[in-house]
Symmetry: C2
Subunit: 205 residues, 2 copies
Amino acid sequence: MTTTLRDRRRRQTEQDICAAALALFEQHGVAGCTSDDIAAAAGVSSRTFYRYAVTKERAALLVQADIEDAFEAGVAALRPTEPLLPQLESLWTEVLRRHENGRSASGRQLRSLYRLLRTEPTLRAAAVAVDDERRAGFTALLAELTGAAPSDPTPRVLVEVTTAVVRAALDRWSEAMDDPATYGEPDLVTLYGEAVTAFRAMTQP
Amino acid sequence: MTTTLRDRRRRQTEQDICAAALALFEQHGVAGCTSDDIAAAAGVSSRTFYRYAVTKERAALLVQADIEDAFEAGVAALRPTEPLLPQLESLWTEVLRRHENGRSASGRQLRSLYRLLRTEPTLRAAAVAVDDERRAGFTALLAELTGAAPSDPTPRVLVEVTTAVVRAALDRWSEAMDDPATYGEPDLVTLYGEAVTAFRAMTQP
DNA sequence: GAGCATTGTGGCAGTGACTGCCAACTAGAC
DNA sequence: GTCTAGTTGGCAGTCACTGCCACAATGCTC
């Protein structure tokens, strides 16, 4: 067993905190509950709540850490000599498909989160902030992988643009949950595919 | 005179607050000064400081409001029937050129801000949050302008992608200021041009 | 399985960011 | 001049977050 007891505990309390935050945010709104409330609901002291969550809002964002970890791992496994844009696009497709499962617990939590993002500006602010941090990591990784010169804009543009398309898809996903009339059954992978198509259409007229 | 005295006062204190925030952030770091400090330096009470700045960090971000206002105005003046991507790209070029002036006061403040963004994570978090808010506005405007269906991903993708390229350029700009050895004389418009070139290269292999 | 090193946890006190409320003021309209 | 609406300042209060320290649990080693 490579995972020690401490590791498992750690992951467990992390999940507890995240679940508690999502539940309370949904029930009372972000402004309607305190960090102490979340900590208590997760069965943990206020102090350790902050050790895990760093910020009240970020507690709810822990669900998507897995996704971004998966993407980062995928970036490390790219083939730097072949065209990167299509590789990154199919990597995103793969990652999104694997995590969007509406039947798994984390899949449902992910939906909760993105529903909340539409109505909770402070939560959204936190989300874009962590997103930005992660992007910096992706960019550094990609730059190292391709051996690009530090002044070469390519890695940055690549990361910024591909994540921009993903963001467009995620925003539509959020919207679709509150408004199923306009969209049909909202399926994240499909929405991402449509965003990629729109992207292609606009770059090749 | 269409601008009333109140308007002028308002703009003045806004600039005072912004200038004070930038100065203190540069001198003592964001964590090294309180919102009261900034308010006092701007000659205003703590209460009205928050009325203008909303957030301690956002005080410094008021400099770039002009730029985003200019871009938004430009979006409203686009020709919806012609290809939008090149229009948006030249709009950004235009807007950046007009505001990057290193000799004007606001131009120097803009540089200060972007230098700070590299070293101050909380400031950067606030910056990406306001950026996100503005993008939502751009997207809504563009959607209305083109008369796209609400389920059409095109406006969103368009805004996300074009701003993504700008962000890549701005990040390199920040970096260039602290490291003039790697880059030559950092010129924002040039950097943006290079980012656009990289973008083209990666979409048309 | 006892003892030691490492890591995780809780409690507490303190700082400071932000808000609601109200009272005083000031520009603008007539 | 006066009335109205927008603007400001001063509290007082809440709550997010942090540093510090004592204590507990885990993992390692013999």
